[in-house]
């Protein structure tokens, strides 16, 4: 009788242990798939906005990464560039096929912007988060005002 009680006890403990492990596993994978779903949705909206307005992908992506996915600000800005690059390549091809491009003007802009890009990406790490957010916020507000004027 006693041995049976001990046996059942052990059995229950093992069962409980397995059950919690299993629940943790399910919980983790659910959290993970929710995380992935969020990322996929954010990516889709970023691509849509970036293609539609020819810019602005970052203004969607960076706040989403910082405030929804808890990515550190500097990393969010840098990661956004890596995501918008392939999206811009695709959008460029479509804009190009519709004959709205001006190659000569683009070349001149590109020369300046590559140099600026080097300066900007080296500067990013030097800016404290609060300044970075203020700067980013002001640029977004200016863009918003300009869009409705």
């Amino acid at each position: 009788m006693l041995s049976f009680a001990i046996f059942t006890r052990i059995n229950i403990t093992i069962f409980v242990k397995i059950n919690t492990k299993y629940r943790e596993f399910i919980g983790d994978s659910m959290k993970k798939s929710k995380f992935t779903a969020k990322l996929l949705l954010i990516g889709f909206i970023t691509g849509l906005i970036n293609g539609l307005f020819g810019s602005g992908g970052g203004t969607v992506l960076v706040p989403c990464l910082v405030f929804l996915m808890d990515v550190e600000d500097h990393k969010a800005h840098a990661t956004a560039i890596a995501i918008i690059l392939p999206l811009s390549i695709l959008s460029s091809i479509i804009y190009y096929s519709y004959n709205v491009v001006d190659i000569a003007l683009t070349e001149n802009v590109a020369i300046g912007s590559v140099l600026g890009g080097i300066v900007g990406s080296m500067l990013l790490n030097k800016l404290p988060v609060n300044i970075l957010r203020k700067f980013f916020g002001v640029i977004m507000i200016i863009a918003a005002v300009r869009m409705v004027i």
Partner: protein
Amino acid sequence: MLVALIGFFSGIIGGMGIGGGTVLIPSLVFFLGTKQHTAQSINLISFIPTASVAILIHLRNKNIEKKLVIKLILLGVIGAVIGSFIAVSLNAQLLKKFFAGFLLLMGLYEISSKKNLQKKRG
């Protein structure tokens, strides 16, 4: 010269991931009278070499979260194609106003938010 200078300044802002296009597109339209669609294409195309060098520098500074990149690009690509086709084929005035509203709200939120401000850089 003016063009390269405009490019330079938008490149700085673009390289920081703040949005070079938000400076570049209006500058081209305002100073040079470039058409809106063309200005958008210039921003998209010139972003390709600019982003490439910026990414190299950000990678070296370990600022890119590599495990997020692939998942964000996956559907982003589809969005980019749809968005671009809409842009070249119709006049998106209403959408533009919506997006302006979004930008304004997010801009104010960026300035005022204290969330995760103290977060250590990992």
